[in-house]
């Protein structure tokens, strides 16, 4: 491991390693420089899954990138009773759809981050692991995630945060996960009971400064909420019930 320490300090240009000192390492979200240095596959093989097994084709992600994200998701959400596996919720496709909304520069940064995270040379230099992330054992994978999570370099923690957010948004955004977390989903609406355009109602004047002391503010008549219908069983959200009768606002016309 002596090599690892020496490389870290002296030789290799890694995200965050020279933060603030090397202009070319001023990345936006995740950075790019290492790929140019060590982007080869010479240290280890990768296990890129075939597109159909990933639920592709994708708008942005390559099969390798989707494989890395799926492999990461399998560790961020390890197997647990009642929790669907990431592929059950079509995670690579969901992640791809979110990434596709970003500006092209952000997409490129994210894709580079994903490849950097998988990169064997990165793993070797930073964590002493000779493998790509996708080709590591589960324990090694967890160790690599933790190394990024707890790195003393803020830029690496930024990379971890970006990856984590994509994966968890894609996974927990799926209604298929709701039963596992005890979320019954949105309640049914009774749109017909929506109040019609109300006549403006005078609110009482009230104290401007946040009130000290307890007790509900006096004076203004509180509104009564309508009772909420019992929550239904989880469902996929496809349609939304009956629109209200609203203002007739033409859209899409030419000015």
């Amino acid at each position: 491991m002596w090599r690892r320490g020496r490389y870290r300090r002296e030789r290799i240009l890694l995200p965050g390693e020279h933060e603030g000192r090397r202009g070319f390492l001023k990345w936006g979200l995740a950075g790019t420089a290492l790929l140019a240095v060590g982007g080869g596959t010479w240290l280890a093989t990768r296990r890129t899954r075939p597109l159909p097994a990933l639920g592709g084709p994708f708008q942005v992600l390559s099969p390798l990138e989707a494989t890395v994200l799926l492999t990461l998701a399998e560790r961020l959400v390890p197997p647990r009773e009642g929790f669907p596996r990431p592929m059950d919720v079509d995670l690579p496709r969901r992640a791809d759809a979110v990434v596709a909304l970003a500006p092209e520069a952000t997409q490129n940064e994210l894709r580079q981050l994903v490849r950097l995270f998988d990169n064997a040379l990165t793993g070797f230099l930073l964590d002493g692991q000779f493998h790509t992330f996708t080709d590591s054992t589960l324990e090694q994978q967890d160790a690599r995630i933790a190394a990024w999570q707890t790195s003393r370099y803020a830029l690496r923690r930024t990379g971890y945060k970006a990856l984590k957010k994509i994966v968890y948004a894609a996974y927990y955004g799926s209604p298929k996960v709701w039963p596992a977390v005890g979320y019954p989903g949105p309640p049914p609406l009774d749109a017909s009971e929506r109040p019609q355009e109300p006549a403006p109602k005078r609110a009482e004047a009230r104290h401007a400064e946040p009130k000290r002391g307890e007790g509900a503010p006096e004076g203004a008549a509180p509104q009564r909420p309508r009772p909420r219908p019992a929550a239904p069983a989880p469902r996929e959200l496809e349609e939304i019930p009956a629109p209200r009768s609203g203002m007739d606002l033409p859209q899409g016309g030419k000015p």
Partner: protein, 517 residues
């Protein structure tokens, strides 16, 4: 009154050719500032065009689904954050702006904040008395009133009960709702039109009085001519937010920028306007720390009005300290999963108990230390906006003490276990465990920090070298441009900002009309 064709909302995504408008006023942004100004100026008979980069989502188009709402209704598709991702920033992007997706909390501006602005920044004429009639007017129009304690949801009741047992100040929150069904989906936009967001209120008023509102039209450049802005150039966007290639050009006598604390500075900087180097400076975020508690009984913090109780017990902690206030946050799965610290089995364990979880937040009141400069909005070389916010030691201290206060409230209210939002979560089961937070790391990206209150960046003040707009919200160096949104605050506020923006916009409209009318 306007003699022109009736107003309407136009979806610029569907424009087949470039559009040109020559109204009296161009308002950029349709949120808490822009909608109120647009309505007030339209009511005076001025011809108003509003440019809004987001889409128009009336209640029937809204889905109570986070996976839909964050990409559709939030800035940067829900991904807005500081450049290092250490602070997640929630901001709306739609007709109605953040009011479409906020949690309806409505506070008037604390008078001590207005006094501070007058004393330190030379803001004149903006005091409690001047604002009073304007607050009354917006409270009436938006049905702002207290939420009844008996229907406060279990999540907010934790704050009510816990603060009560600790003998801390507490209050029920005033909300801008009418006919609220207490569903809990404010953050994904109200599906029943009960929230009195701008798209349902002042935008409709403006349209009724002849304003034309372009949705999916992103203002990208101000064209200067002498000491005036002669035109506002906008790109038409498709429904996913990508430019369609069509343009909207607005040439108006008056220009009002109401894009919020990130986008108003962004537009000025993109247009090369920054005469004294103050645009995009002094950005304040009310940086937030969160705490999750598991209770023996179901809390179902995903249902019910999301924010209805507050405690300002620690708002004023004395000289040299940053104050904070306490509120609740709803616990729908995507928001919580992407906010919790850690990964793997512990994260999953916390998620598995979501129905039993209570979420509380402490919001630090930034901008009041003499040497405090807050964050910075700038433009990257590739054109994207960039937000930086170095968290000062005094803010970290407030976040740590705020987290301790939240844990105390939760334990006092009967929580079985409390988790901090650290990457290695601090686990607290008894009051004595709260001290563990003193030893936890308070550094970027080792603990979750959030913001839903972007403020500053076009600060008002007397000195043109130290501020961006004057006390009437007009740009110091130009004759026909005003900024009316949260970006004009010289500091944070200490309360949720929407009502301050409503009130100031209502007040500012009179000055704009008389200056330009």
């Amino acid at each position: 009154m306007s003699e022109s064709a009736p107003g309407r909302i136009v979806d610029a995504a569907e424009l087949r050719r470039d559009a040109e408008e020559t109204p009296d006023v161009c308002v950029v942004g349709s949120g808490a500032g822009g909608a109120v100004v647009a309505a007030r100026l339209a009511a005076r008979g001025l011809r108003v065009v509003v440019l809004e980069e987001g889409g128009y989502y009336p209640p029937e188009k809204v889905k109570m689904d986070e996976a839909w709402a964050f990409p559709a209704l939030y800035q940067e598709h829900g991904q807005r954050a500081t450049a290092d991702l250490s602070i997640t920033v929630l901001q709306g992007r739609a007709v109605g702006g953040s009011t479409l997706v906020n949690w309806t909390t409505s506070f008037r501006t604390p008078p001590r904040v207005l006094r501070h602005w007058a004393e330190v920044y030379g803001v004149s004429g903006l005091d409690e008395k001047a604002l009073e009639p304007h607050f009354q007017a917006v409270e009436e129009r938006l049905h702002i009133g207290p939420w009844p304690l008996e229907v406060v949801n279990a999540n907010n009741r934790v704050l009510w009960e816990g603060a009560g047992r600790l003998s801390w100040d507490r209050e029920v929150i005033h909300r801008n709702v009418f006919g609220c069904q207490n569903l809990g989906y404010c953050g994904t936009a109200c599906p029943v039109g009960a929230k009195q967001s701008m798209d349902q209120t002042y935008v409709q008023d403006a349209v009724r009085d002849g304003a034309r509102v372009y949705a999916h039209a992103r203002a990208v450049r101000l064209e200067k001519s002498g000491k005036r802005i002669a035109a506002v150039q906008a790109q038409a966007l498709d429904s996913s937010g990508k430019p369609t290639g069509r343009k909207v050009t607005v040439r108006s006598r008056l220009v009002v920028l109401s894009g919020g604390a990130i986008n108003s500075p962004q537009l000025l900087l993109r247009s090369g306007y920054d005469p004294s180097g103050r645009v995009g400076r002094r950005t304040f975020l009310h940086p937030v720390v969160a705490s999750a508690a598991i209770f023996p009984d179901k809390v179902e913090a995903f249902y019910g009005a999301p924010q209805s109780v507050a405690s300002h017990h620690f708002a004023d902690r004395g000289r040299g300290k940053v104050g904070f206030f306490l509120e609740a946050a709803p616990a729908q799965p995507l928001l919580i999963a992407t906010s919790l610290g850690g990964f793997g089995a512990l994260h999953e364990e916390q998620m598995s108990r979501l129905a039993y979880a209570n979420g509380l937040i402490a919001l630090s009141i930034d901008g009041f230390l003499p040497e405090e400069e807050g964050g910075t909005v700038s433009i990257r070389s590739d054109g994207r906006v960039r937000l930086d916010y170095p968290i000062r030691p005094e803010i970290w201290e407030a976040l740590r003490e705020g987290n301790k206060a939240l844990a105390r409230v939760q334990l006092a209210a009967g929580a079985s276990v409390v988790y901090s939002f650290h990457e290695n979560p601090v686990v607290m089961r008894t009051e004595s465990d709260v001290a563990l937070l003193d030893r936890a790391p308070w550094e970027p990206l080792r603990v979750g920090v959030f913001s839903a209150h972007a403020m500053g960046g076009c600060a008002m003040g007397r000195d043109p070298e130290k501020s961006v707009v004057d006390s009437r919200l007009k740009l110091h160096w130009l004759d026909n441009v005003w900024v009316v949104d949260g970006s004009v605050f010289p500091t944070g506020l200490g309360v949720n900002p929407q009502e301050t923006i409503f009130g100031i916009a209502h007040w500012a409209a009179d000055h704009i009309a008389s200056a330009g009318g």
